[in-house]
């Protein structure tokens, strides 16, 4: 498999603050790669460097085998976290402008834009200004601006933030479809549960560092089956009596329980049965969010 994005020992400082600290990761062709982590972890700075908007202080970034450059920018479709378009410009003119800035000829840009406007049933908006469109409509236009030049790499920064469920579903479909066409997709998000099903590889960011990375499935396997999903009816007081566990998620009739060292699933089941009516008891792999928290805690201890 060929490397599409190759990040080696990259650091970036803003004044005294270190936004990205000695980060390395690799993205292979045809993958969906998730850059995960809480807000302020350095994801957007990393993404801007891959997009050649910012330059790393140290380290190197290669895109499709060559150092990041204006040339590599043309092979990337970038959807920034903060969306933006010219409010007073007509939809078609705006898309033409952005596609031509990405290196498309006038005719190629026109064909691509007509295709995408047609696909999103937005051809009638051509002559409208962005300020006349609803939020959902302008999100579609923003998306067309990202994909119109048919890039080999897609980079989406927090793609699902601010999307309504319909557009959210549509974006997921497009991402999976583009993956099938052999495109490489990198996206960042702080909502980890949203992307668990989609990602092949992930890189977890915390405080500017890559704290965990690799294939999502193997990472989960390596953590083992150590999580209990419990549905119950009755008093939840018993959850407080459990020892050797961490309760990640609880509500009136649901709990996600992580087994720590020495704890036994059978003991927990016995305690639970004694005090409540159990409707589900399932032993599963930990969630990505749980993995993130354990990893962050471990690295903090290691520091």
């Amino acid at each position: 498999m060929s490397l599409v994005i190759d990040v080696q020992n990259v650091s970036k400082h803003f004044g005294k603050a270190t936004a990205v600290n000695q980060v390395s990761f690799e993205v292979e062709k045809g993958q969906i790669f998730g850059l995960l982590g809480p807000n302020g972890a350095g994801k957007t700075t990393m993404i801007r460097m891959i997009n050649h908007i910012l330059n790393p202080d140290t380290g190197s970034i290669s895109i499709l085998g060559e150092p990041a450059s204006p040339k590599s920018q043309e092979r990337i479709g970038y959807l920034p976290e903060e969306r933006g378009l010219y409010k007073k410009m007509k939809v078609f003119d705006q898309l033409m402008y952005l596609a031509q800035l990405k290196g498309l000829s006038h005719q190629a840009a026109k064909n691509a834009i007509d295709f995408w406007l047609d696909r999103f049933e937005a051809s009638t908006w051509k002559k409208k200004e962005i300020s006349e469109l609803s939020k959902g409509m302008s999100q579609k236009i923003q998306f067309i601006a990202t994909v119109a030049h048919d890039p080999e790499i897609y980079i989406f920064d927090e793609p699902f933030s601010g999307l309504d469920p319909i557009n959210s579903e549509m974006l997921k479909d497009v991402i999976l479809e583009e993956k099938k066409r052999g495109k490489t997709i990198l996206f960042s998000t702080h909502r980890m549960e949203q992307v668990e099903q989609m990602c092949d590889d992930i890189c977890l960011f915390n405080q500017g560092k890559a704290v965990l990375q690799g294939n999502l499935r193997s990472i989960k396997q390596s953590f083992g089956n150590n999580t209990i999903l419990l549905d119950f009816v009755g008093d939840s007081e018993f959850l407080n009596e459990l020892e050797g566990v961490r309760i990640n998620n609880r509500s009136t009739n649901f709990a996600e329980i992580r087994l720590l060292e020495g704890a036994s699933a059978q003991n927990i089941l016995q305690v639970a049965i004694a005090q409540a009516e159990i409707q589900r008891f399932e032993i599963v792999q930990p969630s990505l969010q749980d993995i993130f928290f354990s990893t962050v805690k471990d690295t903090k201890v290691a520091d």
């Binding site: 004044g15 801007r48 997009n51 050649h52 908007i53 910012l54 204006p70 920018q73 043309e74 990337i76 970038y78 920034p80 903060e82 969306r83 933006g84 378009l85 010219y86 409010k87 007073k88 410009m89 402008y97 952005l98 031509q100 800035l101 990405k102 601006a145």
Partner: protein
């Protein structure tokens, strides 16, 4: 290194989105109309002031001034009729039937007691001045007569020596010149450049802020370098300004070129009508005493030298690029127009200085002070153009001024590009001057 085809795309967008706006069309076509209207209004006021005859009653206790005054202007100066009392005259003035009266005291001539002009406020300063000069002339004449001064001396007093104003051009040929015209032209051109630099600089800054706050700048910089975006915007807005000025200058040139033939045409027609009517009346066919030609050469003074237009554009473009690169940097550094005020003040100072000094430079275009101001790059875009308009500036001074301006333009552009690059992706806190310097050093 710099991708010119992408800069071209940016220039095209900046240009076409602006030229198509209503406000551009309105300001382009209304401004000359407003100026013409304003000039027409002033001319109308001046002319109409002379046309409406004013009537002033002369109450002459000396008995010597009334006659020469009515000889001088029989419609303006009226004798007091025997039946009129001063109160009646005052009532007539109140009722606007008269414009005023002048009272000459018995001792006006003997002891120099001031005459009094009582009026209803109409007429204004011009009328008052002309009244005073009439009285002065008449009084002087009486005194000369009283002292039995010889004819020769009276002639000396009446003499009005003429002073012809001729300005030497580059070829050393004398041209008729109107000092007042070139002075006011110099002032006007300075105001023009000042508002051009400032107005279009503000447009550019607003557009940088808009791109930043609408966040589109992140998408653009994922396709082009910040310096390319900045240059594209500068050149695009500059072209808009040049289009507008070009249209204005073309209109002006058209008007001045056509003015003489058109005026001549109408005058000839009038003359034709006049002569026809005269010859119809005068069956004997005696040559009608009509001036066959009216001198319209004064209109040529309004025409503008193409070389001057070239210099105007050179200085405007260079000055605009220099100042607007700073405006772009300020726009990139702040999040809103209100925040820009703090940084605007130090930038404004030199342009304002150039603007305010301009009056003195138009008055004394060849003083050391004017030479310095027209060489100093922060003021030269305004002051040198004014100097070129008002006097004959040696070509080496113009060249030096242009070279200095280009050098400082390059310096400003490099400085601004660094602030711009750091600023467009920074949100939140308004940076301090210290941080701006840091951005410059970092890059």
């Amino acid at each position: 290194m710099i991708n010119s085809s992408k800069i071209w795309l940016i220039i095209k967008r900046e240009y076409s989105t602006r030229v198509q706006t209503k406000s551009f069309l309105l300001s382009t076509f209304l401004t000359p109309l407003l100026i013409l209207g304003f000039m027409g209004f002033i001319i109308f006021m001046t002319v109409s002031d002379n046309e409406a005859p004013k009537q002033v009653v002369v109450i002459d206790e000396t008995g010597r001034l009334l006659e020469p005054l009515t000889q001088l202007n029989a419609t303006r100066y009226l004798p007091i009729t025997a039946s009129q009392s001063i109160d009646e005259i005052r009532d007539q003035i109140m009722a606007d039937e008269l414009d005023g009266y002048v009272l000459f005291d018995r001792s006006f001539l003997s002891e120099g007691t001031p005459a009094t002009f009582v009026h209803n406020g109409a007429g204004g300063i011009t009328f008052f001045e002309s009244l005073r000069s009439d009285i002065r002339d008449v009084t002087r004449q009486i005194r000369l007569e009283d002292n039995e001064v010889s004819e020769a001396i009276i002639e000396i007093f009446e003499e009005r020596p003429a002073l012809e104003n001729r300005r030497m051009n580059e070829e050393g040929v004398d041209e008729q010149s109107n000092a007042f015209l070139s002075f006011s032209g110099g002032i006007l051109i300075g105001i023009f450049i000042f508002f051009g630099l400032f107005g279009y600089g503000a447009i550019l800054m607003r557009s940088v802020i808009e791109e930043k706050t609408s966040r589109i700048v992140e998408i653009i910089t994922s396709s082009v370098k910040p310096i390319e975006l900045m240059l594209g915007k500068l050149l695009g807005v500059c072209l808009v300004a040049l289009t507008q000025f070009g249209l204005w200058i073309a209109t002006y040139a058209g008007v001045t070129i056509l003015a003489a033939p058109v005026a001549q045409f109408f005058i000839n027609q009038r003359m034709g009508d006049f002569q026809n009517s005269v010859s119809a009346l005068d069956a004997t066919g005696a040559a009608a005493n009509v001036p066959s030609d009216i001198d319209l050469s004064f209109l040529e003074q309004f025409s503008v030298d193409p070389l001057f237009i070239l210099f105007f554009f050179v200085f405007f473009v260079l000055g605009f690029l220099m100042y607007s690169s700073i405006f772009a940097a300020i726009g990139a550094a702040v999040d809103s127009e209100q925040d820009s005020q703090q940084f605007m003040t130090p930038v404004m100072l030199p342009i304002l200085l150039g603007y305010m000094l301009n009056f003195r430079i138009a008055e004394a275009p060849d003083s050391t002070f004017a030479i310095i101001a027209s060489l100093f790059p922060l003021t030269s875009p305004i002051n040198m153009v004014t100097r070129i308009m008002v006097s004959n500036v040696p070509i080496w001074e113009v060249a030096l001024s242009i070279i200095l301006l280009i050098l400082s333009l390059i310096g400003m552009l490099l400085l601004a590009a660094r602030i711009y690059r750091s600023g467009i992706l920074m949100y939140g806190k308004k940076p301090t001057f210290k941080e701006l310097f840091k951005w410059v050093r970092q890059a």
